[in-house]
């Protein structure tokens, strides 16, 4: 079948062939991967069915630890979603040519992550049917409302960002791909909105790209700063900090960059794109990751030094629990394995090659997830008011299988959305329009 398709389909040049062929052929590996993800999602759905049926009692969340791994996971996904703005705005406005092939991957990851963040918040609600009450009885003073507004705004901007960069390639898919199913032809035709490479269309799209590159940045900063304010405005040890906004944003950029490297590694291998995602890209990403990690390290020192120096009351108890107590193994794994050691290793050129940097990025991502766990859970277990006469289950938090199943399913959703988007659309921009803007050549797509 595949050879048959190859014979029928004609490409204009090698670039087109390399970047479009994965849309035409579906390997058994792809099917197996999709089946695996669907299986994980199905198990998670069963866990969620139990949660809906019996209520949040099936989770380990109680009166004190009322935000569990769902909220850690939510913060993690919001963090990952910031990567879209890193590439589509910061690197683009700084005229980095090397990052162009990676922009679309970052936008796909951003869209997928923000969708999962929204879903996980609804999962965290004991009564999801009451979600619209949040809108109906809106209190503009509530940071949760700020978060709902900014997340929905960022989702729309991320979708437009991905769509506008895809537009010329969608038209190319519509015009060039002949041996594809009817629904795919229809999909490309509708999404390409009569794109004809007309000079006026190019000028308008360039304008859109420029506006988006500038406007996505404050929204991206706002989304994670507001998420950090959910914590900073709640009176708990570890959260009562003015450092929390930049601490969250810098951590998000680091986690996002690591996520891109992992995605680059798999996309490069599975789609045979070694000529497009090169070792030089990994090297550049490695350097960028060191920079972002150093910024995050700086805010980490700020975050812990003050309370650890003073050791005041419950703040001190919280620090002891993190440094030498119950959460010490996780804390030191996160700080050393997920932050300090990656910085040291990535200073060496050999470590910035595709495979070592992929391993290092995996550790950073694991560290980033557990870091969110450490931000959320230990703080909740140390309220300022003394804990007296409560059930034993209130005193600790060990997530139940339902919570793990749902969390893993959210990861599977995240990967499924990325996989489907990569399968449907060219992952690296095919069309180049360098000639359009002489004044701002970098803002071409």
């Amino acid at each position: 079948m595949n050879t048959h398709v190859k014979h029928q389909q004609e490409f204009k040049d090698r670039r087109e062939k390399d970047l479009l062929r994965h849309i035409l052929k579906t390997s058994w590996r792809y099917k197996l991967w999709i089946a695996f993800l669907v299986l994980v999602i199905a198990i998670g759905m069963y866990g969620y069915y139990r949660q809906l049926k019996y209520g949040l009692i099936v989770t380990a969340m109680r009166d004190y630890t009322s935000w569990g791994i769902y909220i850690s996971n939510f913060v993690f996904f919001v963090a990952i979603s910031l990567v879209g703005s890193l590439f589509s705005s910061i690197l683009k406005l700084n005229k980095n040519e090397w990052s162009k092939p990676l922009t679309r991957i970052s936008e796909i990851i951003a869209v997928s992550a923000i969708i999962c963040a929204i879903v996980i918040i609804i999962v965290d609600m004991g009564r999801p049917d009451r979600f619209f009450y949040v809108i109906k009885y809106l209190r503009i003073q509530s940071p949760i409302i700020w978060d709902v507004i900014i997340i929905s705004t960022y989702l729309v901007i991320s979708l437009i960002l991905l769509y506008s960069s895809l537009l010329p390639d969608l038209a190319l898919c519509r015009d060039r791909l002949t041996v594809i199913p009817k629904w795919k032809k229809k999909l490309y035709r509708i999404l390409a909105i009569n794109w004809r490479n007309h000079p006026n269309q190019l000028a308008m799209l360039q304008k859109v790209t420029k506006i988006l590159a500038i406007s996505v940045l404050p929204v991206a900063f706002a989304i994670h700063t507001v998420t950090s304010w959910l914590f900073a405005t709640t009176w708990r040890p570890g959260w009562d900090s003015t450092n929390l906004g930049p601490y969250f944003v810098s951590g998000a950029f680091m986690a996002g960059a690591a996520a891109i490297i992992i995605a680059m590694y798999f996309i490069r291998k599975s789609l045979h794109l070694k000529a497009y995602i090169t070792e030089a890209h990994f090297d550049k990403m490695g350097k960028l990751l060191v920079l972002l990690s150093l910024v995050y390290l700086y805010f980490n020192i700020n975050e812990y030094l003050g309370p650890a120096f003073k050791m005041v009351g419950v703040e001190g108890e919280h620090i002891i629990e993190l440094f030498v107590g119950k959460y010490a193994p996780m804390y030191w794994f996160v700080q050393l394995g997920g932050l300090v050691l990656p910085i040291v290793f990535l200073l060496f050129k050999g470590m910035r090659r595709s495979f070592p940097i992929f391993i290092i990025s995996t550790f950073i991502i694991l560290g980033a997830w557990f870091k969110r766990f450490l931000i959320v859970i230990p703080s909740l277990q140390h309220p300022y008011l003394p804990i007296q006469g409560v059930d034993e289950s209130y005193l600790h938090y060990d997530p139940t299988w339902e919570e793990w199943a749902i969390t893993l399913a959210s990861f599977a959703w995240f990967l499924l959305i990325i996989t489907v988007l990569i399968k449907l659309f060219p992952v690296i921009p095919i069309k180049k329009h360098e000639h359009v803007s002489k004044r701002h050549p970098i803002l071409n797509f």
Partner: protein, 198 residues
């Protein structure tokens, strides 16, 4: 041999017990139902400038006062009942028990509170609850009539104006950009339609 005898003795004991219980099932199971009777509890309310007293008088079916009958006094609140009076409130030899009503309890907008007097878990009398509405509470204005100042902790309608202006301005500016981009995308579509026409 000794243990065998012991086991048999135990077996015999249990069998006898079961036998007795079966033949006296109405006594074993229905004991309470047969003996318990209805108590009559009358409430009266004494009020002067300094105090408000709830007086409960308990009599049996022959109109004789019931002594040492424990009664429980509550005020109905939004989520549960608030106990008032002492820990134990028992009737005296005249069948009377008095409980002071707290002077500072909020009632509804007119000051109405629901007083509950309960007879529970008595060996001799059936459970019962008497519910009375009295205008003894402190009137609480309904949320609509509270003269709330604009603040971060106020109701939605009383959010601080600077906060409303800042957030609305931010939302408006970013969504204006989003709609402007969507408008440009529509224009791109239109150009394409014109361009594709022969």
């Amino acid at each position: 041999m000794k243990t065998k005898i012991l086991h048999s003795a135990w077996g015999l004991k249990i069998s006898c017990l079961v036998f007795i219980m079966i033949f006296n099932a109405n006594i074993v199971c229905g004991q309470d139902d047969e003996i318990k009777e209805e108590a009559k509890i009358a409430l009266s309310f004494n009020e002067d400038d300094r105090s408000k007293i709830i007086v409960a008088t308990a009599t049996n079916i022959s109109n004789e006062p019931i002594e040492d009958l424990e009664l429980y006094f509550y005020i109905k609140r939004s989520f549960s009942n608030l106990p008032i009076g002492d820990f134990f409130n028992s009737t005296d030899e005249t069948g009377v028990v008095e409980v002071e009503f707290p002077a500072d309890l909020p009632g509804d907008s007119e000051g109405n509170v629901t007083i509950l007097v309960k007879l529970m878990d008595s060996d001799l009398y059936n459970d019962q609850t008497i519910e009375t509405v009295k205008k003894w509470g402190v009137p609480s204005p309904s949320p609509d009539h509270i003269d709330e100042k604009r603040s971060l902790w106020a109701a939605a309608a009383n959010a601080p104006i600077p906060l409303i202006i800042i957030i609305s301005a931010l939302i408006f500016s970013i969504w204006f950009i989003i709609f402007y981009i969507i408008y440009i995308l529509f224009k791109i579509n239109k150009i394409g339609i014109i361009d594709s026409k022969p």
